[in-house]
């Protein structure tokens, strides 16, 4: 009887931990997942406070430093372009006219506020979303992995 009790305690505790872990997992998959969007999908997919990855091409001639010292540039998917503001150093391979992914938040009527900016890494490696954005625009060239 005693042994059975002890076994029951262990199984109950294990079950509780498992339920907790599953709960956390579902919560995480609901709230902590980052969606990838193109500029023209922004209005449809953005929710207040949700972290998004905005992918597209940096529009030529739009990179500038705003009056408050924050870097800003426009990202386009060919249909729509969005102003992105980023308070930090742009990555080494950030170029106008090339693919970029900005991770951050957006609210209607305001610029996209980036917390992180990812650019192409080298000839063969680029963030997957950049490649996807280029493909969607029909600008994909080369045989590098998608």
């Amino acid at each position: 009887m005693r042994r059975r009790n002890q076994r029951l305690i262990m199984i109950a505790a294990a079950g509780a931990v498992l339920v907790l872990a599953m709960g956390l997992t579902f919560m995480g998959l609901r709230d902590s997942v980052t969606f990838f969007v193109a500029p023209s999908e922004l209005a449809a997919k953005a929710k207040p406070g949700r972290l998004l990855r905005l992918g597209g091409l940096v529009v030529d001639g739009t990179l500038a430093r705003a009056d408050d010292g924050v870097m800003q540039f426009e990202v386009t998917d060919g249909a729509t372009s969005v102003l992105v503001r980023y308070d930090g150093l742009l990555p080494d391979l950030f170029r106008e006219g090339q693919g970029v992914v900005a991770e951050g938040r957006w609210a209607p009527g305001e610029p996209f506020v980036a917390e992180r900016v990812l650019a192409r890494h080298d000839e063969t490696y680029m963030p997957r979303e950049v490649a996807e954005a280029l493909k969607q625009r029909g600008e994909w060239k080369g045989s590098a992995p998608p």
């Binding site: 872990a21 997992t25 902590s32 997942v33 980052t34 990838f36 990179l63 890494h121 080298d122 997957r128």
Partner: protein
């Protein structure tokens, strides 16, 4: 010519491993057949090593008639990276996989010990088929010796990010770990075929699990260290799918090390140990698949050809199908559970296993979820640090909270109250840490709890050492020296886990970061230091050109100089960042040089990071690997004493 010798050796090794597989699985009790299987294993290993050596020679001689060399090497590359280039690509790394698998098979063939003929020869046979599967894949789908006609005069060069000493050693270490899990898998299948998994079986299992886990720990630690100083982002772990691919087998191997102890010492948990052995190898194969298939695009994904990914998936399905199928049919015949109480050494190890397995499951879900969503047409998503910090960290944290209790409890029935009493100083110290951290960090609860857990682990490990010392006689130092190696290995690994926890929490929660534009001669105050940009100039390296910035760092009472570079490798046209790191007691000052500022002539962007206690992360990982190595030494000594 050398390339052909390599290809021929690989083909010959395939024939021999198939022979090893058939002979090993069908000994019918005859020693001669088992001996033939063992001899085949050793010959296959020798041939695989010759093939690997041929590939290295081809790389060192820059033989550009071999297509792998063209794609991944260059005449100007320093020798060490020509050698490392042999496994720094998809084809070569698969050959390395085969070579390690064959090598472990040969070592297993030479170390029969007290294992019964049936178990030993069957495990040898399964291992033969594992090697054969890997060789078929390599020869048919990714032949590293394929010729190119006409041969170009120059190669394309190795990705400059990978031209680094830590990264030269990183893939072989990880492969030793991944493939090291194939022997536990083979032993598990053999046990299921024989219908027997006794204490001698667990004893045979333990060293292989330890080798795999130690190499994985060391390899992952090296990778994290490389990411820290080479990528120039100040981070060391990004929950990147490729990192997760190595973390999952690590978690399972860690669980397996502990459950195998229970099976060896007490005979219980045998079927769970078998399940973990199958799962561990499954995760190792899954890791290979994720990294090599190009499903995830990253620096690691070499293979572009989808047929390769499908082939790895087929191999994975075969291994897991056979493993789980046999398990479902045979496992119930094995279980001979020796009882234990809810509070005992065994129960603590069960909790350890449970926590690690749940963590591995959560990591698996987070890693595969984006692939699943994309396959179902749900668009592109990414599951990153926020998810894993929310899920994996609490699970592992709860597990670590229990850890110091385990060693303090006895087998079968433990006395929790006595153990907690002995651990009281550690509890007090941990609580003080939490309170002080709360106070100093302006009430940031999670980091304070994390630091408390780390201190609890370190102090608990020290108290365990102390209680074991009390059993000895003589002076304190003599008692310390006389402690069994097994006590040391466990304590070093567990304290290492605590050190790693303190480092990881401290660095993540309290790092500071700043990006500024600097002109030579300008100074900035950062993290209690004054940092001055002295000079920016050009230097030439062996196969790159670099912009080098020299900084002076003044703190109260001392000053030092620091160099950060941006390198451009003309062969790939790709810039890399060589950060300058200045270590101090409170952590690293980490300086990365950016690009010239667009609208300010003469100015450079500079990223400054202060990473507190970051060294403890790598020290902790090293201690854990050292603990694994010491434990392996213990087992080897015991085996020698028994022989």
């Amino acid at each position: 010519m050398i390339a052909e010798i390599g290809a021929f050796c690989a083909a010959l090794a395939l024939a021999l491993s198939l022979a090893q597989g058939v002979l090993g699985l069908r000994t019918r009790g005859r020693e001669t057949r088992a001996a033939a299987a063992a001899a085949s294993a050793q010959a296959a290993a020798a041939l695989c090593l010759i093939a690997m050596a041929c590939l290295i020679v081809v790389f060192v001689r820059s033989d550009f008639s071999v297509s792998t060399v063209v794609a991944h090497s260059h005449i100007d590359k320093p020798l060490i990276y020509k050698i490392a280039g042999a496994w720094g690509n998809h084809e070569g790394s698969m050959l390395l996989w085969c070579a390690v698998s064959a090598l472990f098979g040969a070592m297993f063939a030479g170390m029969r010990g007290a294992q019964s003929l049936g178990l030993w020869s069957k495990a040898l046979g399964v291992q033969g088929f594992v090697t054969a599967g890997a060789l078929i894949y390599t020869i048919v789908l990714s032949n590293p010796f394929a010729r190119l006609d006409p041969a170009p005069l120059q190669g394309l060069g190795l990705n400059p990010l990978l031209q680094d000493p830590a990264l030269a050693a990183h893939p072989p270490m990880l492969y030793l770990g991944y493939v090291g899990l194939s022997i536990p898998f083979s032993l598990a299948i053999a046990a299921l075929l024989e219908g027997r998994a006794d204490q001698a079986w667990a004893k045979a299992l333990r060293p292989w699990t330890l080798i795999a886990w130690t190499c994985l720990t060391f390899g992952i630690g090296l990778g994290a260290y490389w990411a820290y100083y080479e990528l120039g982002w100040g981070g060391w772990w990004f929950w990147d799918p490729v990192e997760n691919a190595s973390f999952m087998p690590w978690l399972i191997a860690c669980a397996l090390i502990h459950s195998a102890i229970v099976t060896e010492r007490r005979g219980s948990l045998a079927s769970w140990t078998i399940l973990l052995s199958i799962l561990g190898f499954g995760f190792a194969l899954l890791g290979t698949f994720l990294v090599r298939s190009g499903v995830l695009t990253s620096v690691h994904a070499f293979a572009v050809d989808p047929s390769r990914g499908i082939a790895v998936l087929v191999l994975l399905a075969i291994a897991l199908g056979i493993g789980f199928g046999l398990y479902a049919m045979r496992a119930h015949k094995l279980s001979q559970p020796a009882g234990f109480a809810a509070v005992s050494r065994e129960s603590m190890l069960v909790w350890n296993n449970f926590g690690l397995a749940v963590a591995a499951g959560v990591v698996l879900i987070g890693t595969l979820y984006p692939l699943l969503v994309e396959a179902m047409g749900g668009g592109l998503i990414s599951v990153g640090p926020p998810f894993f910090n929310l899920t994996v960290v609490p699970v592992l944290g709860a597990l670590l909270l229990l850890l110091p209790l385990g060693p303090m409890l006895t087998w079968r029935v433990g006395d929790a109250r006595a153990a907690l009493k002995q651990l009281a100083p550690a509890i007090a110290l941990a609580l003080i840490t939490v309170i002080v951290a709360l106070w100093l960090s302006n009430w940031r609860v999670m980091p304070a709890i994390g630091l408390g857990v780390g201190v609890w682990l370190v102090a608990g490990g020290l108290i365990y050492l102390w209680t074991r010392m009390q059993r000895g006689e003589g002076r304190a130092l003599a008692k310390l020296a006389l402690l069994p190696l097994a006590v040391w290995s466990m304590s070093v690994a567990h304290i290492g886990a605590g050190v790693l926890t303190i480092g990881a929490i401290g660095e993540t929660a309290f790092r500071s970061e700043r990006g500024i534009a600097m002109v030579p001669g300008e100074s900035v105050d950062f993290a209690g230091r004054r940092i001055s940009l002295m000079d920016v100039g050009q230097v030439e390296g062996p196969n790159y050109a670099a912009t080098r910035a020299t900084f002076r760092v003044d703190e109260t009472g001392r000053s030092a100089s620091l160099v950060a570079e941006r390198r451009l490798y003309p062969t790939s046209g790709m810039p890399t960042t060589e950060v300058g790191i200045l270590g101090a007691l409170d952590g690293d000052l980490y300086v990365a040089l950016g690009e010239p500022v667009r609208d300010a002539p003469g100015a450079w962007t500079v990223r400054l990071y202060h990473n507190p206690v970051v060294q403890l992360i790598f020290l902790g990982a090293l201690m854990m690997a050292l603990g694994g190595a010491l434990s392996l030494l213990t087992l080897m000594r015991r085996a020698k004493a028994a022989a």
